[in-house]
């Protein structure tokens, strides 16, 4: 993805972008195509937060094996986000609880937030894009 390293819209503006991931992987393409937007946004040197809530927390599951459905496994891309300076990864505590998940089940290190913390984080963004 070296073609993305030097993107710049020329304005020098840095905005807060939140990507809100609410959908499970594979049932729909939103998780995969959402990752593509996140990577490009980081290449523009914007302030990127990725948030996983509702079924979106399932995107980060360890142990995904998608050979049987003959679809590409993109879950390792989440591990590569750090290399693109995307370090603000948040998951919603209540969504984890409702699915019986703990941080140990996830493929990357994340910050777990309460609903109030999530809500406040969202309210202070310039741009929220939800998939």
């Amino acid at each position: 993805m070296s073609d993305m390293d030097e993107m710049d819209d020329g304005s020098g503006v840095v905005k807060k972008f939140m990507f809100l991931n609410r959908k499970a992987p594979h049932g729909t393409v939103y998780a995969l195509e959402g990752l593509e937007v996140v990577l490009i946004t980081a290449a523009f040197d914007q302030d990127v937060s990725m948030v996983f809530t509702d079924d979106g927390v399932f995107q980060l599951m360890k142990g995904i094996d998608s050979k049987g459905i003959e679809v590409k496994d993109f879950s390792k891309t989440y591990r590569a986000l750090e290399g693109y300076d995307i370090e603000k990864l948040y998951v919603d505590q209540a969504s984890m609880d409702a699915r019986g998940l703990t941080e140990d089940d996830l493929i990357v290190d994340v910050t777990v937030l309460s609903v109030d913390e999530m809500a406040n984080l969202m309210a202070e963004q310039d741009v929220v894009i939800s998939f």
């Binding site: 809100l20 609410r22 809530t53 406040n120 963004q125 939800s130 998939f131």
Partner: protein, 99 residues
């Protein structure tokens, strides 16, 4: 902040997810199939009325009319047209569509 919901609360959980994260004083606009939640007798009406204590609730009039629901809107819900939708986006510093 403006929250936009477009799916029926009887079919999807997006209204619930929205109400869970909308902070006091923010606005929620119901469009497309989400407008049913703002009508009398709907199972989601109680949820909307409870939310209206802390949030401003709007519903898109043309979507209500297209569903035969123009005369059934809950008290406390503000009906807007597409111009009002544009105004709501302009008036709030950011928005989130709960797709």
């Amino acid at each position: 902040m403006l929250h936009i919901v477009n799916k029926s609360a009887a079919e999807r959980s997006s209204l619930e997810s929205c109400l869970r994260m909308a902070t006091k004083g923010s606005a929620v606009l119901l469009i497309e199939d989400a407008v049913y939640a703002a009508t009398n007798g709907n199972a989601a009406a109680a949820k909307i009325q409870a939310a209206a204590a802390d949030l401003k609730i709007y519903a898109l009039g043309p979507d209500l009319a297209a569903r035969g629901m123009a005369g059934r809107v809950l008290d406390g819900v503000n009906v807007v047209d597409y111009g009002g939708f544009v105004d709501l986006v302009a008036e709030h510093s950011n928005c989130q569509s709960w797709l």
